[in-house]
Subunit: 161 residues, 2 copies
Amino acid sequence: MAETKTFDVIFEGVGTSSGKMRNDISVEWPMMKEKFELATDEGPFHGGDGTAPPPLALFCAALTGCLMTQIRAFAKRMKIDLRNVTVSTRLHWRGEQEGNDPYVTQPVGFHMDVDMETDASEDDRMALLAAAKKGCFLEQTLMQGLVVGHRLKLGDDWRDA
Amino acid sequence: MAETKTFDVIFEGVGTSSGKMRNDISVEWPMMKEKFELATDEGPFHGGDGTAPPPLALFCAALTGCLMTQIRAFAKRMKIDLRNVTVSTRLHWRGEQEGNDPYVTQPVGFHMDVDMETDASEDDRMALLAAAKKGCFLEQTLMQGLVVGHRLKLGDDWRDA
C-alpha cells in the first residue's frame, strides 16, 4: 500500500485601507517564499473609485482557477491527455436589509460547468472531475463549512470577537 | 418598523486554460455592467510560469477585502468615524496524499485580526465588526457551507457531475 503523507498550505494576507473603498492586500505564501500585491475596490455606485476588481470578482476567479488548476494537475497524474479546459462559473448570493441597516448576506447557489478538450472516455472525464473537486482547496472548504475566527484590537490587547 | 428588502448579487466567470498552468478568467457582474479580466498561475515548483498569483492568493485577497469593505461601508451607516482599518488574515489548509495519487484537501482554520483606527468606543467597534461579519458575502458562505453544483460536457450534453 502506498505511503500516506500530509502537507500544510498556509497563506497570509495583510490588508490596509486606501482610497475611498480601495483595499491594498499583500498576500504571502511563506513556504514558497512568494508574495503578491493585490487590491480590491468598488465601483462609484458603491462609493469606490473602481481602481481594482471588487472582492467577489477575485473570489470568482479564485474558485474557477482553483478547480481548473486541479483538473490540469490531476490529468497528468491520472494519465489523461487534456488539451484544454473551459469552466463557466455562476455565483449567486442574496442580501436582506431592513431600512438602511447593515445588510445580512447568504449564498443561494454556486454552479460550475466544465468542458474538457480531450479524447478521454466519459468515465475518465467523470473520474478526473471528481478528483479535482476533492483536491480543490476552495470547494472542499465551502463544502465542509468553516467559522472564521476573529480578533479585534482594543487598546493594546487582541480580544476574540 | 422599517421595510425589509432583499437583493441578489450574481457574478459569472469564464475560465480558459492557457500556458502550462495559467488560467485566464473573465469575470462579469452583469447587474453593474462591470467586467474584470483576471488570471491565476502557479510557480515553477508546481509546473507553472508564475505569470499571475495562484488561486489561493486571490482567495486570500478576496476574503480580506470583503470583510474590510463591509467594515468601511457599515461604519458610515452606523455613524462610526473610521479613519483606517488593517486586517491580517491567515488561511490554513491540509492536504492528504497516498503515493502520487491526486490529493484530498480540507481547511484547518481561517483567522482574521482586525485593527480599526477610530475614536469609537469598544462596544461600537465590536458591534461594527459583528455587522461586517454578517454582511461579508464570503464569511457567510463559509459559515453556512455550500456544495458547489457541477455539470460536465459529454458530447453535446451537459451531465450533472
